[in-house]
């Protein structure tokens, strides 16, 4: 009895679940809005939104977050009426409800940051209270639905609500077929993971689930697996409200090993999948299928789709919403701090492995036979590598989840700017580390805002230019080789005018898009005369670039006047533990992430051509001690092309006693450049620790690591170093460090 119930223990779980529910709520509201625009009812979306808000309210009440409770309560009230009371929401109501979702979102985020949620704005509460539902105008939908005949048991038919019938009618009219699936749970099936939840989830991937009805089987025999408390188990029951099964399916023939539970679940489905496809899934769980209503019309080639700006064509939003209830099954929710903890422990393990390897090497140097130890070390290295992969894998989140909130953002921007935008998103199956995702999201938001606010012309102007009135904003994620994510945000708007930007920045007109991007990323530059409501304030392009650089990646840009612009963020999929090359340079050891290195080339000092601009400025009066030194730029030939080559030891101001033998080639923007180093030592995964000390905030150093000798080894960011050295206008320290 000593335990105390600490609500604070549940805050992080609360935040995670509330965020999921908010995503579900906004998806459902957007689906509802799309249906309303087409003049169709969407009771399912209204119900899903209602349930999400209801759960948020309950959870928030438990953790005493009254401001959230009061917003959710009002939303729930109007949604409940829309769901059960036969009322209909109007389009302007959806705006209010979506605004309320964002209001809750902000407060949940505050809670996640340990702040108390702000009181809800009274104007919002008033607007929510003012939602008056129009009387339902669904007779058109119910009349044909009521006349439909279904080949179902009378007891099942009796359990179909008018809403279920309307849903079935809608689906059949859209060319889907209605299928009944019967699943009989049993202890044996549960033992191997076949449960109603799993069956529902699997069928839900192929079909929309209209209803699930538990059916008490007439035979209940000694059906109940271990139940000591029911001596009268053999007695059949009353089953007042429950469908009784007249058909006596296979379960009746109860064979000894398959002990039926005396219960069957009947799932009513709408599907456009073939019966064979469904059959395959059903077989795995021992479910029986039968069609109970055929499509009313031949299937349309492709339904016109809902508002394409809200959803891409991946899925019919209704089906997506329908599946949402089971989205969370089969998943384990873990606090991010626990994942960080696991990573931290793994990091320690990696460092101690380096120490062990070093100790073995030292022992070997004294003449002891260490072959056996070396073998074990190798095996250990493999195991640690696998473990690392497993831990990092657990931390990965799909980019699709990261982009989930973008449609809502675009929707808000559209209504603020009056521009027409068709959002296309494709993130395939790309996954990134949670930490990368968190840092990437604000940059994505900025790029999307910029595109809608600045890039797209108003519809009338687009029409005059002969462009479709609706602009296309596409966000595409691709996983490149060497573990990099390439995220592009492209618009077909007006493009960026070099001369205008140069004038505004007070600089020379840039020669190319890379130079233009440098200008756009100057701190404080806005191409707008004044801040608009949506962008032109807050985070600028300089922060987007900094995000890319901080993550050890880069920002690329292309634009064509009149045609549009594309921003590309290229960043590593994971940070913290990275694969690196270690090398010796000027008598010191350094590491550089493998993902940053394009190629390693042999350097023959005799082949280096020294460039004319040998600006070997010495170190006198360096304005900032941390600034890299200018080094002689040489050239070597690589596959017939000249490659600029810098001596890394000179750049870092280290004595260059030995000749360079290798060069690490990196790419900054479009151009490759090489850094000459003395000797390559090997390849290993290291744990990168950020350098927090301002005194060692050096351009080109992204962190430090321990290779097992207890001494910090610097992790170099050669791309940033190259940028700092070769830029026409050296970047500000903050932007490149």
């Amino acid at each position: 009895m000593s335990e105390k119930f600490e609500l604070a223990d549940f805050v992080s779980g609360y935040v995670a679940e509330a965020e999921d529910l908010l995503v579900l709520a906004s998806k459902s509201l957007l689906a509802l809005e799309a249906s309303l625009r087409k003049g169709e009812p969407n009771p399912r979306a209204a119900r899903d939104a209602f349930r999400a808000l209801h759960t948020i309210k309950g959870l928030s009440a438990m953790v005493a977050l009254e401001p959230i409770v009061s917003i959710a309560h009002r939303m729930e009230t109007s949604l409940r009426e829309a769901d059960q009371g036969g009322g209909r929401l109007a389009l302007p109501d959806l705006d209010v409800l979506l605004e309320a979702v964002s209001a809750i979102e902000q407060r949940v985020r505050a809670v996640g940051q340990g702040k108390p949620p702000a009181e809800p704005p009274p104007a919002l509460l008033e607007s929510l209270d003012a939602i008056k539902l129009a009387p339902s105008t669904t007779p058109a939908a119910t009349t044909p639905a009521a006349s439909l005949s279904f080949d179902l048991e009378p007891a099942l038919l009796a359990r179909l609500s008018p809403g279920d019938r309307a849903l079935l009618h809608q689906g059949l009219a859209a060319g889907k077929r209605a299928v009944q699936a019967d699943f009989i749970p049993s202890g044996a099936r549960a033992k191997i993971g076949i449960t109603i939840t799993q069956v529902r989830e699997k069928l839900g991937r192929l079909a929309e689930i209209v209803k699930v009805v538990p059916v008490v089987l007439p035979q209940s025999g000694a059906g109940f697996a271990r139940d000591g408390r029911t001596p009268e188990a053999g007695a059949s029951n009353g089953g007042a409200g429950f469908a009784r099964d007249g058909r006596t399916p296979e379960a009746g023939a109860s064979n000894g090993e398959e002990r039926p539970a005396g219960l069957s679940f009947t799932l009513l489905l709408l599907t456009s999948a073939s019966l064979q496809e469904l059959e395959k899934v059903a077989e795995e769980s021992g479910s029986k299928l039968r069609q109970f209503a055929a499509p009313l019309a031949p299937r349309e080639a492709s339904p016109p789709g809902d508002d394409p700006a809200l959803f891409d064509e991946r899925a019919d939003p209704e089906a997506e919403i329908g599946a949402s209830g089971s989205l969370r099954t089969g998943l384990v929710r873990v606090e991010i701090s626990r994942l960080d903890d696991a990573l931290e422990r793994l990091s320690c393990l990696i460092v101690s492995r380096f120490r062990l390897a070093r100790a073995v090497a030292d022992l070997g140097a004294t003449g002891v036979d260490v072959r056996n130890l070396t073998r074990i070390l190798l095996e250990n290295a493999r195991q640690v590598r696998d473990l690392r992969a497993a831990v990092l894998h657990v931390r990965m989140v799909p980019m699709a989840d990261v982009l989930e909130r973008v449609p809502l953002l675009v929707r808000g921007l559209r209504s603020n700017t009056g521009k027409l935008v068709n959002l296309m998103m494709d993130s395939g199956k790309v996954e990134v580390d949670k930490a990368v995702a968190e840092r990437l999201f604000p940059a994505i938001v900025h790029l999307v805002r910029n595109a809608v606010d600045h890039a797209f012309e108003p519809p009338a102007e687009r029409g005059a230019l002969g462009k479709p009135e609706e602009g296309v904003l596409s966000i595409v994620c691709v996983q490149r080789s060497n573990d990099r994510l390439e995220l592009s945000v492209a618009d077909d708007g007006r493009g960026v005018d070099r001369e205008q930007v140069a004038r505004r920045a007070g600089r020379a007109v840039p020669r190319d898009d890379a130079g233009l991007l440098d200008l756009l990323c100057l701190r404080g530059l806005s191409t707008r005369e004044k801040a608009t409501t949506t962008s032109g304030r807050g985070m600028g392009m300089d922060i987007v670039k900094k995000t890319a650089l901080d993550l050890g990646g880069e920002l690329l840009f292309r634009t064509e006047p009149g045609k549009g612009s594309t921003f590309v963020l290229r960043v590593p999929l994971t940070i913290t533990i990275v694969d690196t090359f270690s090398f010796d340079c000027g008598g010191e050891r350094f590491v550089v992430p493998v993902s940053m290195v394009e190629e390693i080339v042999e350097v023959d000092p005799a082949q280096i051509v020294n460039g004319p601009s040998s600006t070997s400025t010495s170190h006198e009066n360096a304005p900032e001690p941390a600034k890299p030194k200018r080094a002689r730029t040489g050239m070597i030939r690589r596959r017939g092309r000249a490659l600029p080559l810098l001596s890394l030891s000179e750049v870092l101001g280290l004595p260059s006693r030995e000749k360079a033998t290798k060069a690490l080639v990196v790419r900054r923007g479009g151009e490759a450049m090489g850094f000459a180093v003395h000797r390559l030592l090997g390849q290993q995964e290291v744990v990168v620790r950020p350098l927090k000390d301002a005194l060692v905030d050096v351009v080109g150093v992204s962190g430090a690591t321990d290779l097992g000798d207890g001494k910090p080894t610097l992790v170099l960011d050669l791309v940033a170093l190259g940028n700092a050295l070769l830029d026409q206008h050296p970047p500000e320290r903050g932007a490149a460090a």
């Binding site: 349930r51 959870l59 549960a190 059906g223 009268e232």
Partner: protein, 128 residues
């Protein structure tokens, strides 16, 4: 030992309920994340008490109560309905369907523990 089935589609809510009841070492817990899963588990094994959320997908709490009471062997199973403010209208409905107790969130940890103990005590007293 008494085995409880905690039914809620919100995992954090189930965790909170278990945290409220954990101080009693004689209670053990199983979870169900939907009304369907609850019905499945109830048909496969025995429980001493069920804590049930009202608002769930597919099959709501009231339907689960109706199902339980329609089964002879489950007729005596104590059922605590847990729900949210604003659902008081369902109180009458769920009590009529045969729920044993009705609790509204937010509740104090001791409140639910007290109800569980009282119901389990009644059960023991009532059994021959």
């Amino acid at each position: 030992m008494a085995e409880l089935l905690i039914v809620d589609d919100s995992k954090i809510m189930r965790d909170m309920i278990v945290a409220c009841l954990r101080p009693d070492p004689s209670l053990s817990f199983s979870h169900a994340s939907s009304g369907l899963e609850a019905i499945e588990q109830l048909s496969l094994r025995g429980f001493d008490l069920i804590v049930l959320d009202l608002n769930m997908p597919d099959i709501g709490g009231i339907e689960v109560v109706e199902f339980i009471r329609s089964q002879d062997r489950l007729r005596q199973l104590p059922i605590i309905i847990v729900t949210t403010r604003g659902d008081e209208a369902s109180r009458a409905q769920s009590l009529r369907a045969g729920a044993s107790r009705f609790m509204t969130k937010p509740f104090q940890p001791q409140e639910i523990l007290r109800e569980v103990r009282a119901l389990l005590g009644e059960g023991i007293a009532a059994s021959p």
